[in-house]
């Protein structure tokens, strides 16, 4: 009975949302004065400059040198959001370790691991770590970036936990990495404020669009994010794979 009522409620809500969002068919009602220039400006990188078009490996010294426009937005145009995002993850990792404060002993799985798993895991972990690093160093050129790269690093650490019974990551070094990456991120922002004019401003030359060493601070920021996310995710995984010590 409760479920039927809930289903009914949800369906009614869906109906109301649908009818007020969509005028005809599946097209959302859109205001006639809709602002379209924002994304166009991101694509042509013409927010501060009068830039007509961008060509891969040709255009140089633009306001933003990232070939990946999403990366351009994430780490440059709206970099402040990303700082906040990193902070959320940072908070989550602190929160997990504080909530599970009494949980210190490593969790023991019931199933024993075997040699195939161990060897395979080591192989994959090595590859995964490389892939992760590749991802956040090439965030401004290809899909991916600091967050997926960091997550892959975290996943490889998880794999080590699952395959090796006695494996315990050295959390202290992760903490150092996390802390330093975060601090440097903020410092870069503040340097932008003092060296240039604005917080988190891209104060390095942006180079050629598409080159590995290009886009000013974007790769640096993404590497920092990658390291930070990687260490935070590892920290969360480490904390979850523990048991409460009976005191």
């Amino acid at each position: 009975m409760k479920r039927i009522v809930s289903i009914l409620l949800v369906v009614v809500l869906g109906y109301f949302v649908y009818t007020s969002l969509y005028v005809d068919g599946f097209d959302m009602a859109v205001s006639d004065n809709r602002q379209t220039s924002i994304s166009d400006a991101y694509i042509t990188k013409s927010v501060t400059s009068e830039n007509e078009s961008v060509t891969y490996m040709e255009s140089t010294d633009l306001e933003n040198g990232s070939a990946n426009i999403v990366t351009a937005i994430v780490t440059d145009y709206r970099s402040f959001d990303t700082l906040g995002e990193v902070t959320v993850l940072f908070l989550a990792s602190i929160g997990v370790s504080m909530v599970l404060a009494g949980f210190t002993k490593k969790y023991q799985f019931k199933m024993k691991t075997n040699r195939i798993l161990k060897t395979g895991a080591r192989l994959v972990v090595g590859l995964a770590l490389v892939l992760g690093v590749y991802m956040f160093t090439h965030g401004h050129l290809s899909p991916g970036g600091g967050f997926p790269g960091g997550s892959i690093i975290g996943a490889s650490i998880l794999m080590m936990y699952l395959s090796e019974e006695n494996f315990r990551a050295r959390m202290a070094s992760f903490k150092w990495m996390e802390s330093l990456a975060g601090t440097v991120y903020v410092l870069i922002g503040i340097i932008g404020l003092f060296v240039a004019t604005y917080f988190l401003e891209n104060f390095l030359p942006t180079g050629t669009v598409g080159a590995l060493v290009s886009a000013g601070i974007i790769p640096i920021v993404y590497i920092l994010i990658g390291l930070k996310v990687g260490s935070e995710v590892s920290g969360i995984i480490d904390q979850f794979l523990t048991e409460e010590v009976a005191s």
């Binding site: 078009s53 908070l91 997990v96 909530v99």
Partner: protein, 112 residues
């Protein structure tokens, strides 16, 4: 169409939140809701015949039709934030399990 799918996922998530009494199931419902939301956000940026907003050797000019990159950037943020809250709520779930020996709110016998 994808927007509708996103909305339906959101509604399913809401249904789960309303009916479920199990902490883990609630977290799952919240995640379903967030995934629907993320789907919706990405689909908002869809442009007819648009391509991924990355300049490569093939798609090498900004004159091409790209999909709106901004929602993709937003969704990246939203996903990470969602992950953070999920991790935190799972930690709470473990802590609650450690004290109450159950995940079911009905079995905890908490006073109203």
């Amino acid at each position: 169409m994808i927007q509708i799918a996103g909305l339906i996922l959101i509604l399913i998530g809401l249904y789960g939140l309303i009916t479920k009494r199990n902490i883990i199931k609630m977290i799952i419902a919240l995640n379903v809701l967030e995934i629907g939301l993320n789907l919706f956000i990405v689909s908002v940026g869809y442009v007819q015949d648009g391509i991924a907003p990355i300049l490569t050797e093939v798609n090498n000019s900004s004159g091409l039709i790209f999909v709106d990159p901004l929602p993709q950037a937003l969704v990246l943020t939203a996903i990470v934030i969602g992950m953070g809250t999920t991790a935190l709520s799972l930690a709470f779930a473990r802590k609650i399990y450690a004290t109450h020996q159950t995940f079911d709110l009905n079995e905890m016998g908490v006073e109203e």
